[in-house]
Symmetry: C2
Subunit: 381 residues, 2 copies
């Protein structure tokens, strides 16, 4: 295949695979697509290790890295706030509600040595989702050879774009609306990920079917566009490219692959879920993020429970709770098992079988080709 994306990265097929799991990243790059490592939960040292591992695995094939640096968050107004200031902004009502959930669902405490939200905090103790957290990661990434560095949430800051381009790599950014894509392109972004509402994780309200052509038209030749949100199989890849995208960006579909480090209890839920079993909820990150409907999202959705806080307060509030839940979620029938969830898009409805990531890629290409051939037959007759 040949599109702006295959040309830009020298890949066989324009399938980009976002995953927090280095094994998925390597498997997709080796299968002819391009893995992109989601690094937000990585410590600096773990990022070093994983990038070195990936490069060792894939040889001279390309891969990418995804960091989260939001443009602004709840702590921004005050300027120069440290972690303690942020912690003090969390209302007692919210703490009490989280404690109440954990008590009612009988979720065991964490052992002492696992407390305090390390999952979201950098080794330097910087607040989650901050530039302080991302800048060292960016430099670690650039000391390696990812072909693409993506900012997953909001516009990539100017210094990030400069540094990545200085090093001769491409910059990517997600957009949920045409005006976001235009802003990214004006700032120097090379690859726009046009992500519709169907997607897992942070996502807007405009559906992929409407969003992709709007962004393709808004961006013109100034950047390459990847379609995302609801893309997990070949027909969806063909649809995204029929809409004008030069490739696809998939995240959810890897979560049930053999390589994925998805929590086993959550993986089981994903395999059983239908496309109606997700919800855009602010309960994990403070921003609307599509995730599996479980007792967790239902608790936060009730009319008599507090509204989630903003970012980064909500993840600070719930981080330990989620780790407690995940730690205890392995046994069906427990409260923790009922609460356990994770980000996933509406394609979860067709993720019904665990399989190797490479097979997902090959099946996607096969169905893509069938889909294009069927269109040709319909048109020619």
């Amino acid at each position: 295949m040949k599109t702006a994306i295959t040309e830009m990265f020298g890949v066989d097929v324009p399938i980009l695979a976002f995953s927090h799991c280095r094994d998925v990243v390597a498997a997709v790059s080796k299968a002819g697509g391009m893995g992109v490592l989601g690094a937000v939960a990585h410590s600096d040292s773990q990022l070093e290790i994983d990038l070195a591992w990936i490069e060792d695995e894939i040889g001279d094939r390309p891969y990418g890295v995804d960091l989260i640096v939001p443009a602004k968050y709840a702590g921004d107004d005050a300027g120069g706030m440290d972690l303690a200031d942020l912690v003090a902004m969390i209302p007692d009502e919210h703490r009490a509600f989280v404690d109440d959930i954990l008590r009612r669902y009988e979720v065991p405490e964490l052992p002492d040595d696992e407390r305090s939200g390390r999952g979201l905090l950098g080794s330097d103790g910087a607040a989650p989702f901050s530039a302080n957290r991302a800048d060292p990661q960016l430099e670690i990434a650039l000391a390696h050879r990812p072909a693409l560095v993506v900012n997953a949430l909001g516009p990539p800051p100017a210094h990030m774009i400069e540094r990545v381009r200085e090093e001769g790599r491409k910059v990517g950014a997600l957009a949920g609306a045409a005006q976001h894509a235009e802003r990214h392109v004006n700032a120097g972004v090379d690859v726009i990920i046009a992500q519709g509402s169907e997607a897992g994780g942070h996502t807007g309200e405009i559906g992929t079917m409407v969003l992709i052509p709007e962004i393709v038209d808004a961006v013109g030749d100034a950047a390459a566009v990847l379609g995302a949100g609801g893309i997990g199989r070949g027909r969806q890849m063909a649809a995204a490219m029929a809409l004008g995208a030069q490739g696809v960006w998939c995240g959810s579909v890897w979560l049930t692959t053999d390589e994925a480090e998805t929590h086993p209890a959550v993986k089981e839920k994903f395999l059983a879920a239908t496309s109606a079993d997700t919800v855009r909820s602010r309960s994990r990150t403070g921003k609307h993020a599509r995730q599996l409907v479980t007792a967790w999202t239902e608790e936060w959705d009730r009319a008599d429970t507090p509204d989630p806080l903003g970012m980064p307060l909500q993840p600070m509030l719930v981080d330990d709770a989620i780790r407690r839940i995940d730690r205890a979620a392995h046994h069906e029938g427990t409260g923790a098992n009922r609460l356990a969830n994770y980000f996933v898009g509406q394609v979860v409805g067709t993720m019904n079988e665990s399989k190797p990531a490479a097979r997902v890629v090959y099946e996607m290409i096969e169905e893509f080709i069938e889909s294009v051939e069927r269109l040709n037959t319909q048109l020619a007759d």
Copy 2:
């Protein structure tokens, strides 16, 4: 072109156009697609007139009719309720809220001879959205020669399917989830309209990109599938068919055509709106229906205002109010103008120019062909 849909109806292109406006229906059938008249707001006599007019206009080309017969509604439990019983179920709080909106936005009263919700009530005084209302319409339709009779909301009742098939016509039904499509097919429906969340009017939460392949797989060869929701141009038609649909069902895109009887003030708003300017709201019909965001939807969305009632109570509650608003909405800057809205899908963002309905069809086909050719080039290289 040749698909299950072009074969079934003998049309040149598998584009079905849902419209309340007979001129749009005729224009699309004459342009090689197939118009489908939305008849819910038609009196029996007006339906007679419009079907005769359409048949006179289009000669032996095919067309369809769309009726709304929900499976159940708020009045069902009590059994045998008449209109007065239903009216008595509307809470005073809701009446007061509607009156308050009209007062605050300074919407003039209706003249005496225009009151009492005739828009939604049959000439026989039956409650809106009831079988009592739809059965005479069905017989009027079958006394004419529509090739397709669609039930827009919920499963078509068994007697409707029987009557339509007895007369040798095809039955269509909308589905927002795979299990709805399966139920329709088991009941004998010939054409499934797989309508994703992007659509205008009554619509679910699953995006078109995910929904179409799920329904195509669920239905197999037992029915033809039309893709709907976010389809307004050729790239979207190509995407829907890449996903496995055998044609498309478009509604919103006709609302800004030259032929459409869209309220002029609302048409102006549609031409100016972006894809982010719609919302799924229960404020007009009692069921989630995507419509333009205006002061009307914002009033109903506020935390301190009552939740909309169910169907048919909500339309009975707001019918006169909407007619008051529409009657007075012609002048910009008035409260009525700010309130005025209508059902429309997210494709409203690309409906930026009023044009003849036939041109919409021709442009859609042209862009469809370009899109398939681009896919071929990308695949071949």
